[in-house]
């Protein structure tokens, strides 16, 4: 009997410890008092004098501002610290504490800090649904008016990435279009021209395939890399309105719009034709599976975010110098989309609603995203910032900057833009499209069913 008692005690101990490990999600302590409903984003514009944001009215007290960002690698971090140093030189009474975070843990860390009421004054986001969750909870300061005043310093397309429900909540410090990256050597060897239309791209792909090269590299294990192609195809097919109408539930737009179905059909057609490497859903982008195919000349193109530039520069410098080229995603003849609509994403600084010095914080995020920073960013780290008047150091960054400059609309990645559960389903369904475990119609219907549940409220 005694033995059994001991055994039971052991079980309890073990299961208890096991749960401590797995229930981290549920055990975040909250310190703030619960509010009955989601408070609207706090508005500070009433107290901030509109016309001038000069230093005259900023506090003279000794204060501290904390900034959480994700510029963890040395080059990007340098461009951030240069900007904070300039700020502290200008305002010696304000101390800036900047904390660099790893990309993925940062998301969890910020959410936890928000829940605990211990968020930093300034934080980085990707815009879209993620930022919107925080706005809905009343955690983000409404800085729409101040941004509007200085809006002409930035590309309109870059600012529009961080517009939520008609208001701008963040100043962009990185803005990356997702182009098609191609191997110039392969194009030269086969005598191919950069395609303007999808038909031309497909014609190129046929020739590339005939030469024994796979047209596209793709490492879709983490589900988002393949989604880029899906978004581009539907954007070119239906234009930005097809998606925005479906998202805003207006003008009869749905996620079962034919542009989404056609995009799915095109993907499966390409999979069948062998445009993608074997088992693209099992290739891991993060460990380089798809990039090795591209650098090695085994594939001719890769559709990727602008992160590909820095990856390529550090992983395959020679390829970066000699082979890497980009072009805008070709348009579809007869489609509603134009070449001025591009897919991209960016990062931006927002201010927490709890920040005690909103004016000073705004001045700081202004300096963290201004022209001087933009120049630093592109020179040191090769990252385009979305601010105007920056001189591009080389052809590749110039091409990317031109894309942003000429665009009148940047479509944020759906999984950033949509509410989190829809973003997850969008990635899952495109993954299934590539793996041919769903049909284009079923994928669209699944999205629409969830949209009805999530958005029609």
């Amino acid at each position: 009997m005694k033995k059994r008692g001991l055994a039971l005690l052991m079980v309890t101990a073990m299961t208890v410890t096991s749960l401590a490990g797995c229930s981290g999600g549920g055990t975040t302590p909250t310190t703030a008092a619960p509010a009955p409903t989601a408070a609207p984003a706090v508005d500070i514009t009433t107290e901030a004098a509109p016309a001038d944001t000069g230093s005259a009215e900023l506090t003279k007290d000794e204060i501290t501002l904390t900034v959480w960002h994700i510029a963890i690698d040395e080059t990007r971090h340098k461009s951030v610290t240069n900007a904070t140093e300039r700020f502290m030189e200008k305002y010696p009474n304000i101390k800036v504490i900047e904390v660099a975070n790893e990309n993925d843990p940062y998301k969890t860390k910020l959410a936890t800090a928000m829940a605990a009421g211990e968020e930093p004054d300034i934080f980085v986001s990707w815009g879209g649904g993620w930022l919107e969750s925080f706005i809905d909870e009343g955690k983000v300061l409404d800085i729409d008016e101040q941004i509007t005043e200085i809006a002409d310093e930035y590309y309109e397309s870059a600012l529009s990435l961080f517009e939520i429900k008609g208001k701008k909540y963040a100043l962009p410090y990185a803005c990356g279009p997702a182009p098609v990256y191609y191997n110039k050597q392969i194009y030269a060897d086969l005598g191919l021209e950069v395609p303007q239309t999808l038909a031309e791209l497909e014609a190129n792909c046929e020739k590339i395939k005939a030469a024994g090269i796979t047209p596209f590299a793709l490492g879709n294990s983490s589900q988002w890399p393949g989604a880029l192609t899906f978004i581009y195809l539907s954007l070119r097919e239906g234009g930005k309105d097809a998606f925005l109408n479906a998202y805003n539930r207006e003008n009869g737009g749905t996620f079962e719009d034919e542009s989404f179905i056609k995009a799915g059909q095109k993907i499966q057609e390409w999979v069948d034709k062998g445009y993608y490497p074997e088992g693209c859903n099992a290739i891991n982008y993060d460990t380089g599976g798809s990039r090795m195919l591209f650098y090695g000349g085994m594939t001719a193109h890769i559709v990727q975010t602008n992160g590909m530039f820095s990856n390529c520069r550090s992983e395959a410098p020679e390829f970066y110098e000699n082979n890497l080229g980009t072009f805008n995603y070709p348009i579809i003849e007869g489609g509603k989309g134009t070449a001025k609509e591009i897919l991209g994403g960016g990062n931006a600084y927002s201010i927490s609603a709890s920040c005690k010095y909103p004016k000073e914080a705004f001045e700081l995020i202004h300096m963290l995203t201004d022209k001087e920073f933009g120049q630093d960013s592109v020179d040191i780290a090769g990252v385009i910032s979305g601010v105007k008047g920056v001189t591009m150091p080389n052809e590749l960054t110039q091409e990317a900057d031109d894309l942003v400059k000429n665009a009148d609309y940047i479509q944020n990645f759906y999984d950033q833009f949509l509410p989190a559960d829809m973003g997850a389903l969008h990635k899952q369904t495109t993954y299934d499209l590539f793996g041919k475990t769903t049909t284009p119609e079923k994928a669209a219907a699944d999205m629409e069913a969830l949209a009805k549940k999530t958005l029609d409220q």
């Binding site: 059994r4 749960l19 959410a111 925080f134 589900q223 997850a424 793996g435």
Partner: protein, 299 residues
């Protein structure tokens, strides 16, 4: 009267001493385990996003929703497969290796070190190493399959082959761990018993069945419970090897909970999944121990 007083004084002193020594452990255990579990159950009755303090009480609505959630049942099914693999592949495998390094063959120290090595690697490093091993184009396995002209897809971490591929890695990682536990158990078996049995004419198999196994039962039971609970709450390798996005084929309860809590911001719902996991782990461990301890008493 005096005597009794002294005795009770003594007892109090003893109790005080016990409390003093137990307190630090109890404090940490209570704060980080018991309190955490209590709060998990508390949050599981809330509609809460986990971003701000805004939450509302919704009773058992989350529990009903999770019970009707097919994704959760699918995750539980995958966990059960993991449990089965742990019990019926890892355990015998570990026992075999333990017997091997316990036998009097040459180079046992060498083999012990080699066998134990996988356990020393961090899980993420292990995961990345095996992702490279399974890579459809450059991976060792893909090259092997192509060289031998075996007509199968090299997309191992996809579709139906994803789960077995990861289970294989888990076995590779955890067999050494249980091997060491079994080895410790084997060391405790007195040599005299074998000598006596040999004199009585028992062969190796009879020695194993009649001496080694019965004396190893408590060790096996302990590791079985560890495996049961460990498999039910497993997370790491599935998360790492599926690129942070396990799908229907590879979703576990813990990865599903993480997805709901931290990527979809449904912390209340995620807490309910955690609560179910707790209940399931607890129930399984109790049932298992109840049955095995009865057997132990009969013997």
């Amino acid at each position: 009267m005096e005597k009794r007083k002294a005795a009770s004084n003594d007892r109090w002193k003893k109790t005080g001493l016990v409390i003093l020594f137990v307190f630090p452990a109890l404090f940490f255990y209570g704060t980080f385990n018991l309190l955490g579990i209590a709060r998990t159950f508390y949050y599981s009755t809330m509609n809460w996003k986990g971003i701000s303090a805004n939450k509302s009480f919704i009773g058992l609505a989350n529990y009903i929703a999770v019970a009707q959630d097919l994704n959760f049942w699918n995750a539980l099914k995958n966990n059960m497969i993991l449990v089965a693999v742990s019990m019926f592949i890892q355990m015998p495998g570990a026992l075999l290796l333990a017997l091997l390094i316990n036998s009097k063959i040459r180079f046992t120290k060498f083999f012990r070190t080699v066998f134990f090595m996988p356990m020393l690697l961090s899980t993420v490093a292990t995961g990345i190493m095996w992702i490279l091993f399974y890579d459809p184009n450059f991976g060792l396995l893909a090259k092997l399959v192509k060289a031998l002209h075996i007509p199968i897809s090299t997309a191992f971490l996809q579709g139906n082959t994803a789960l077995p591929s990861i289970l294989m890695v888990i076995c590779w990682q955890f067999i050494p761990y249980y091997m060491i536990i079994f080895k410790a158990g084997l060391t405790n078996v007195p040599e005299e018993l074998y000598e006596a049995a040999r004199i009585d004419g028992a062969n190796s198999w009879q020695c194993f069945i009649n001496i080694t196994m019965p004396l190893l039962i408590p060790t096996i039971r302990t590791s079985a419970v560890l495996q049961l609970v460990g498999s039910l709450k497993y997370f790491d390798l599935f998360y790492v090897m599926m690129g942070g996005a396990p799908n229907a084929n590879t979703e576990l309860m813990a990865t599903y909970m993480y997805k709901k809590g931290f990527t979809e911001f449904q912390m209340g719902y995620a807490s309910t999944i955690a609560a179910y996991m707790f209940i399931i782990c607890f129930a399984f461990a109790c049932i298992f121990l109840y049955f095995t301890s009865r057997k132990g008493e009969e013997a």
